[in-house]
Amino acid sequence: MTADTSLRIEVGRRIRSIRMSKGITGQRLAQMARISAPYLSEIERGLSEVSGEKLLRIATSLGVSVQTLLEGSPPEGQAASGVTIPSALAQAAEQLKLSYRDTVRLLQGRRSLVARRASGGQEDWQVEDWLKFYRKVKDYLEG
């Protein structure tokens, strides 16, 4: 089993687990996330990849962060508010038809720049910035 497949299965299990704990039917979640019920079922069983945008919609519908779906619940005492995929990245991922794995890798890459000492601030990245970043790194996304 590849790391990708393993992650996909884990994410699917988490979605199903959170959905059921909240008493939401698959049909209802699919409606809320604007995807088809069969597709949601495939995602929950780890049979289909899901884009960053759709994962964001599922997470929002479930009232959790994308991080929670990707990593599981945050450790006790740690803020759960930390992570969501920025909407600009989600839009870029949708345009590029990126898998959530590659979307996350882009976000990891961007945020591996953990501190930036400058005399001026920095704007949040827009869709164009993410697209530009992707063009620079696409040859290195594997591995």
């Binding site: 976000l107 720049l113 930036r116 400058a118």
Partner: protein, 334 residues
């Protein structure tokens, strides 16, 4: 120390993380915790620095090694090519694709990357890139700034993605700067150099000698501020810079005071400067700027006055000033 800008909610989360990491408490208690945070950071650094020779660059090297930080210095476009090759192409660290755009911004001093594909004990698990394309001035200081981030903050997990915005308006950065100032001129190591010089007078030349002995790569201004803080007699440091000031609906451009630091003895003896006050033409500082020459002379501070007619106290002080680019670095001591 002790005054911080009002933190934003995001910065408060960072402060809380610092408080927990340094074992000061579960929550950041406010400005009164600054001194504790600095002391705790120094306490973490001290065992690492046991036995180190008293040289600032060695202090930086030992801390960098302990905290798995590699410093990369960029002086030319070719250096950027090398780093892109080393980290982006060979190590698949996607973050380095941002390097070129970031460093071509002259406002960016330094970047700290946490490598995604590094092992726990890789010596370059963190890579601090210093932007020296324009000047080397902040090279020494920025090393300690980045190291202070590593000492005071918990390592970022791969996926809570808490990105720091780092600029002069950021309250966390102000705290990190305070810690960096203490580490860059670690008192236990640095004080003997100041003590040896304190038998004489405080001049720019004395500052240069201390810099050469302790940290040759430090900027003159950083050493000035560090020495003033530890000088046993009244002393202050400021930068003279030509700046405009609106006065009676007109902009009055003149060489003006930008305060850097004032030590405890200066506070107790009433030695001070008024921020943004005009440098009088009769002052040694003005002469240093006008003739582009280093000057050191005694002068009576009563010649310093404001447009409202306020004078500085009539103290006899030694004024030492040197032009640096469009600025003048100045020391006033008694």
């Amino acid at each position: 120390m002790g005054t911080l800008k009002r933190p934003t909610p995001a910065e408060l989360m960072q402060f809380d993380a610092i408080a927990r990491h340094l074992r000061l408490g579960k929550r950041w208690a406010g400005p009164e915790m600054v001194a504790d945070a600095v002391a705790a950071s120094i306490a973490r650094a001290d065992p690492i620095l046991a036995g180190v020779a008293p040289r600032g660059e060695l202090v930086a090297a030992m801390l960098a090694s302990h905290y798995h930080v590699r410093f990369e210095e960029v002086r030319t476009a070719r250096d950027i090519d090398v780093l892109e090759d080393r980290y982006l192409r060979r190590k698949r660290e996607l973050g380095f694709a941002q390097l070129r755009d970031e460093l071509q911004n002259p406002k960016v001093d330094a970047l700290l990357f946490q490598r995604v594909h590094a092992a726990e004990d890789d010596p370059d698990r963190w890579v601090a890139v210093l932007n020296l394309l324009i000047t080397d001035d902040r090279r020494y200081w920025n090393k300690f700034h980045e190291l202070s981030h590593r000492i005071a903050e918990p390592p970022q997990r791969l996926l809570p993605f808490r990105r720091q915005r780092v600029d002069d308006r950021n309250a966390v950065e102000a705290l990190i700067d305070t810690i960096a100032g203490e580490l860059a001129f670690h008192r236990r190591l640095f004080r003997p150099f100041v003590g040896a010089a304190a038998g004489g007078v405080l001049t720019i030349q004395a500052i240069r000698s201390i810099r050469d002995a302790f940290a040759p790569t430090a900027s003159l201004l950083a050493v000035m501020n560090a020495v003033v803080a530890l000088w046993p007699r009244p002393a202050l440091a400021f930068v003279g810079r030509v700046r405009g000031r609106v006065h009676d609906d007109r902009v009055d451009r003149a060489l003006r005071v930008e305060m850097q630091g004032r030590n405890g003895p200066a506070r107790r003896s009433g030695l001070y400067m008024i921020p943004n006050m005009r440098v009088p033409k009769a002052s040694t500082v003005h002469a240093a700027a006008q003739y582009k020459q280093e000057r050191t002379e005694y002068e009576r501070l009563a010649i310093w006055d404001t447009s409202e007619g306020t004078h500085l106290p009539d103290l006899q002080a030694l004024v030492s000033a040197t032009p640096v680019g469009a600025q003048v670095y100045c020391l006033v001591s008694m």
